[in-house]
Each structure stands twice: as C-alpha cells, then as structure tokens.
C-alpha cells in the first residue's frame, strides 16, 4: 500500500468510527450501568418450591431496581470454609452469618463496615439494643443487619409422646420431667427419648451452654480478650450430670451420640427422636430440607431452674456484606438486605408480598421467632400475615405462650466458637465414658477456652 492510499484509508476508518464512539457514549450516559451482586440464597439441597420462592423474590426486586442484577448462589454458613472463601475472594456480596460469629468477624474486619448505610434506614433506631449489639463491634461499628432472632427451644415429637402415653399438649416444664418423659418414650417406643448434638464441631458445646444457661450458669465473665472463662461452674457440672443420667442410668438417649445440626434435625423428622434442643426457627429447615410430617411437630420453651440467673440462650442470623464491597455495589447490597430481610418486618405491604410468595410456593409462614425490634412490632407484623400463616400454630402454643415470659440471654461474647469447641470433648466424654471425671474435664476445657479468649481467637 502506498503512503498516500494508507493515509486516506486511515482517515476514512477514523471518520467512520467517530459516530459509533459518540453513539456509545450517549447510550452509556442515557442508561445507568448495571450493578451485579451475588446474594446468598438457600441451603444446598433445598426443595424446588423453596428455590422458586427465592427466585420470585429476586425477580420482583430486579423489576423494582432495573439497574441491579441479582445472582443467587446456594449458601449455608460454614465457619470452616469461610476463611478459605474469604481468602479466595469467593464470598457472595451479601450473605448471612449466625449471631455466634458476626462480631468476631467484624472485629477482624472480615465483613464490611456498613454503619453509615444502616443508620440511614428509618427503622434503625427501632432495633432492640441487645439485638443490634450482636452486629456491633467493640468500637461501635455496625457490621451486619440482624434479621431473625430465635430462642433455644425444646422440639418434640407429638406422635412419640402419644405412643408413650404422654399428653402432647403438655410438654415437660422442668428438667426432671424431661428426664422422666425421655425414659418413658425410650421404654415404650424404642426410639431415643431425648437426643443432643454431640459432634466435635462446636455444636456439642453450644447445646451444653444452652442447658447451663437454663440452670443459671454462664460460660464467661467480662468482655473481649480480658474476659474470664467460667466453663467449670457448678451449673455446667449439673447439666453434664443430667446428661450422664439420661445416657447411662436411664438409657433414654438411643444409640447415636454424634449428631450435629443437620443430622439431628433429619433424625427428628424421621421419627427417631422424642425431644431435642435447637433454635425455635428450625421448622423452616425441617420443611425445606427434610420429609417432616407437620402433624408430629411440637415445640416448647426450655425448662428454667428457679433462680434469678436462669434464662434462655438466644441466637439469630445477621445479613452481612463481603469486606471489599464499595460504592454502587454496596448501595445495591444494602437495598437487597432491606428488601429481602427487613422490609417485611416493618412494612405491611412487604409482609403481605413475602407471605403470598411463601404460600404460593408451599413454604412455611408464621414460624416462631423472637422480636428483632420490639414485641409490639413483632405482634403487628404477625397480625398482617395472619391469613397466610400455614404452620401448625396450635402445636406451637406451648412455646408461643411461654417463651416471652423467659429471659433471653446472648451467647458468650468473647471467642464464642472457641468456648463451644473447648466444651465439645467434655460432652463427648460424658457420652462415651460412664465414669468420665466431669470436674477434671471441665477444668481442662476452661484452660483451653481461657487461652483462646486471651489470644482473641
């Protein structure tokens, strides 16, 4: 190509491209760029109806916010994989963590600081102080939005109660009754009268802590790295002795002692367990991930000892944002949290919309929970959705009529998971050794927990 021809060709090409460039710029200016966020959806293995219900919510949100593209990803909180997902940059933009972990993650800046965004919400000041405290670091930064709270509860199988000659409308109200009912169920039905999580994955320690709270004990005193571990208090000893009696004296706990969160729920749904302790909100999981027959389901408040410090261990879930989220992405993430988790708690139209989607997809509405804001707001939100409630509310009456009279206490604040982990082997020892030295084991666990607290782990 000669130089003249080359220059002419170049000029023509540039001239031809100019309008295209201009048109592109104008298009961008006229239409806002789309922001994509990934959001935690349902647990792996959830039913098709549950997935459809979630997708319906996403579609509605995207219609309302055309510049936001929401991509749901299957998700279940797992402390073991969180660090790996964080290191690999594989966390969803919005995901959920239990109360147990949120503050620790926030202290280590492993989730985003969303203080400014949360304080803009009209209902920010309505949060119960104890609830928003679960998502607030020691420096006062808000690192998540608590959207669901529960109290630990006693779940029981009404069919096994009946089979054992017990009244399913009168669940046990003392630990002595729990023990005698468990024995009766085991003897008359051949199933475990009472079961308890016992795996070395912090769940064994979590449930032991729950029982200890109901007797009046606490696992630590103080705050942060200067907190004192009190695992070896007399109430924990009492809780373990109760466990030992049911396991070895009464033989009322069946043959499986290594249950963890999903497996104990599955065994309960399969009719193998008379009574067990778990959060009051597990009915949703039982419906979405097991073949529970709703007719067998019963829930009651945990028995409390008659002393001032006895109370129920609370828990809940917090919506959080991955730590590197900024700008328009952070705005989109907050809009999703507001829409999907919060709006239905404070806005009638949103509550009705959510209930309709849930019912249309055969998902539970009206699962017992604990107020995020105040009891009045909670009752009002429940009254909005009353026509849609489809859970066996009559079978939940013992819980609903009793739990609000109980004192709800948060989990141990310092090194929560490490405290539970230190207790795991103690529970396992009681399950597997009739002569386990409870005092000595608790002493060792206390040392381990104290070291973890001191090191901020």
């Amino acid at each position: 190509m000669n130089p003249k021809l080359r220059a002419t060709t170049l000029a023509v090409v540039v001239a031809a491209l100019f309008p295209l460039v201009g048109a592109g710029s104008m298009a961008t200016a006229g239409k806002q760029a789309k922001v994509t966020i990934t959001v935690a959806a349902l647990r792996p293995g959830s039913s098709d109806e549950a997935k459809k219900q979630f997708d319906d919510n996403v579609a509605l949100f995207e219609r309302r916010h055309p510049t936001i593209d929401v991509q749901p990803v299957e998700y279940a909180w797992n402390g073991a994989t969180f660090a790996a997902q964080l290191a690999a940059g594989r966390l969803p933009t919005v995901f959920t963590v239990p109360f147990t972990d949120a503050r620790t993650l926030g202290e280590h800046r492993q989730i985003a600081d969303i203080t400014a965004a949360v304080k803009k919400w009209a209902y920010y000041k309505k949060f119960q102080k104890t609830i928003i405290a679960e998502a607030t670091t020691s420096k006062g930064r808000i690192i998540g939005v608590p959207y669901a709270a529960y109290a630990q509860a006693l779940h029981y199988n009404r069919a096994l109660f009946r089979q054992a000659g017990l009244n399913p409308n009168k669940p046990p109200t003392t630990w002595a009754q729990v023990r005698s009912y468990a024995k009766q169920i085991a003897q008359r039905t051949g199933q475990a009268g009472y079961a308890q999580m016992g795996l070395n994955d912090n769940t064994a320690g979590w449930i032991l802590t729950t029982v200890t709270y109901t007797l009046g004990g606490r696992m630590e005193r103080g705050q942060g790295t200067s907190a004192t571990a009190t695992l070896n208090n007399p109430f924990t000893v009492q809780a373990l002795q109760l466990l030992r009696q049911m396991r070895w004296t009464d033989n009322s706990m069946g043959s499986t002692y290594d249950y963890t969160w999903p497996t104990i729920n599955q065994a309960f749904a399969a009719g193998k367990i008379g009574m067990f302790i778990n959060g009051s909100d597990i009915y949703t999981f039982l419906v979405q991930s097991t073949d529970l027959d709703p007719k067998i389901y019963g829930i009651a408040p945990l028995p409390l000892a008659k002393n001032k410090t006895a109370g129920v261990l609370g828990g809940g879930s917090i919506a959080v944002v991955r730590p590197d989220t900024k700008g328009t992405k952070l705005d989109a993430a907050m809009k999703w949290i507001d829409y999907f988790y919060m709006e239905k708690l404070v806005n009638k139209a949103a509550a009705l919309r959510d209930a309709r989607i849930l019912v249309a997809n055969k998902q539970p509405v009206g699962v017992p929970a604990f107020p995020i804001f105040n009891k009045k707001q909670y009752d009002q939100a429940n009254s909005w959705i009353k026509p849609y409630i489809n859970v066996p509310i009559g079978q939940m009456t013992p819980f609903l009529s009793g739990v609000f009279k109980q004192n709800l206490y948060p989990e141990p604040a310092a090194s929560t998971q490490s405290v539970y982990h230190a207790l795991d082997p103690v529970v396992q020892a009681v399950f597997t050794d009739r002569n386990a030295n409870i005092g000595e084991l608790l002493g060792q666990a206390n040392d381990v927990a104290q070291k973890a607290i001191r090191e901020g782990k």
């Binding site: 402390g79 073991a80 994989t81 790996a84 800046r109 070395n200 069946g254 290594d258 050794d433």
Partner: protein
C-alpha cells in the same frame, strides 16, 4: 619445544575447548535448548503448584495473618503455640497409634493377599480385580458406606446385626474412644490395601521361578518358600512400601475428618486434623500461621525419618 612451552600450548588449547563447550551456539546445537523447552512445562507446573506453595507455607509459618491485613512477622511464636497446645501431644499420640495399627494390620494384609493371588492359577485376574475394587470407589463414598452401613450404632448396623444374632451388642463403633481408632484403621486398610497389593503382585512376577523349583526339590513347603525366597527377593519393594505407608499414615486426615471429626473426646484427633482445625476450625482464619507451622514440623519430621530410614536400610534393600 621446551616442556614449559608445550604446557602453555596445552593449557591454551584446553581453555579454547572449554570456551567452545560453553558457547551458546554449541549448547543449542547439542540439544541444550530442546532439553530446557521439554522441561519447561514441568518446571512451570511444579513451580506454580508445588514449590511456590511450599515456600509460601514456610513464610506463613513465621507470620500472623487474618487474611485481610498484611501479614506480620511472628518469629517462632507459631511454633511455640503449637508445642504448648495440649492437643498437640494428643494428636501426635493418636497419629502414632493409627500408624502402629495400620502397620500391624494394614501392612501384612496386601502382602498376604498378593502371595495368595499369585499362587492362584485360574482366578488370578478375578481375585486381583476384586481386591482392587475398593481403591476404585471414591474415598468419601467408602467412608460413608462404612459409617452408615457397617458402623451404624443402632441394631440395624451391619456389624451390630451380625453380633445381634449371638445376642451381643449393639456397639457404637465410632462413638467409643476404645473402638473408634481401630474402626478407622479397618476401613482405611480396606480402602487402600488393593493399591499396595498390585505393587506386590508386580514385584512377585520378577522373582525367578527356578528358585521355587529348586526349593521344591529340596523339599521346602509353601511358608518356607515365602520366608526364604519371596520375601528376600522383593525386600526392596517391601522397604519402599513400608516408608510410603509410614508417610501416608502420618498424614491421615480423611478418615478421622469424615468419620468422627476427631472425636469422641479427641480420641481420633490426628496431626493433620489438628492442622485443619488450626486453619479452619475458627471462622476468622487467624490460625493459619499455626497450621503452617505444624505442617512444616510434620514435613520436616517425615523428611528426616525418610532419610534416616533409607540410610539404615540401604544395605538391606540391595541384592
């Protein structure tokens, strides 16, 4: 020509030859470049996936990290933390126990199976395939099979059903500190024996048949032949599988992780499971330094053990 002049000339010629040998052109012409090009993919893969992670692990073992902030140097603190952790001794003891049980039961079984199969004339292929079958089953599937079919603690578990016929049990195989570790070893032996057996079968084919014929003429029976001919002839392979077994059992993770999570009461907590717990047991991931330190300690121990073992057994492994 004087001797000195001749020496000088020879030195110059040698230098020229050396230069010629070192010249890039000669190096390329002699295939040096091709060799490097052939080795390059392997070097890249090894650097990216083996050597770089090893170097990172060593660095990490001297650091504190929370995966968000830049890591800080911690000196030997991570190593001190590991050594002061009461679970470290438990994990070492449990790992040694697993290795010991695996050695007692897991080491001879593949050898006995290989000898018996090699003696079989008609069904050698069938027996080999059957023995190798567990190796083909995905490890997680194998563990789940044993956990929920064989070791199921209620009376419907396979082992408990059999014992039930004699009115014994049922037993919680994985739920008792006394039986949990042997239960893990049993499954592990089932899962891994096939691979070792294939190695022994291959080694047995190299044994000169005339030795057996001669022994038969001398009136030797089967056990005499195995003891005096088979074992000495394949002792090199036996020593290699021995060291591989020690290395493998020292790194046992899958079985305790999937069967028991280290329980009951830490009875099956192994060194590698402790590494995992340091790194992932707490969601905040602040134990990565300790996990790296313990990994490095284990790797160093195994390297030293292997070198000493190879030195000690050098004379035994050669004919």
């Amino acid at each position: 020509m004087s001797a000195t002049t001749r020496d000088v000339q020879m030195a110059v010629a040698a230098k020229a030859r050396r230069r010629e040998r070192l010249s890039p052109v000669i190096w390329v012409r002699n295939g040096g470049l091709a060799a490097v090009l052939f080795a390059l993919p392997m070097l890249v893969v090894f650097t990216a996936f083996s050597w770089y992670p090893i170097v990172r692990l060593v660095i990490l073992s001297f650091q504190h990290t929370n995966l968000i902030d830049p890591p800080t140097w911690a000196g030997l603190q991570n190593f001190r933390d590991v050594l002061n952790d009461p679970l470290f001794a438990t994990a070492v003891k449990n790992t040694a126990y697993f290795a010991f049980l695996a050695l007692i039961f897991g080491y001879p079984i593949p050898l006995i199976a290989a000898v018996l199969i090699s003696e079989s004339r008609r069904f050698r292929g069938t027996f080999s395939a059957l023995a190798y079958l567990p190796v083909v089953i995905p490890p997680v599937v194998g563990v789940m099979l044993w956990k929920y079919v064989f070791y199921e603690p209620s009376s419907v578990g396979l082992f408990n059903t059999v014992l039930g016929w004699f009115e014994i049990g049922p037993y919680g195989w994985l739920q008792s500190p006394g039986t949990a570790m042997p239960a893990l070893v049993l499954e592990s032996t089932w899962a891994n024996a096939g691979a070792t057996m294939i190695i022994y079968l291959a080694a047995l084919t190299s044994v000169d048949k005339e030795l057996y014929d001669a022994a038969s003429v001398d009136g030797a029976g089967l056990f005499r032949k195995i003891w005096n001919i088979t074992l000495p002839q394949i002792r090199g392979v036996l020593l290699v599988t021995f060291i591989l077994q020690i290395i493998g059992t020292a790194q046992v993770f899958l079985e305790p992780y999937l069967f028991t999570s280290g329980g009951p009461a830490n009875a099956t907590l192994t060194v590698l499971l402790l590494v995992y717990q340091y790194a992932f047991g707490n969601s905040i991931g602040v134990g990565f330094g300790q996990a790296a330190a313990l990994s490095l300690m284990l790797a160093t121990f195994l390297a030293v053990f292997s070198v000493v073992f190879m030195r000690v057994t050098r004379s035994w492994s050669t004919a």
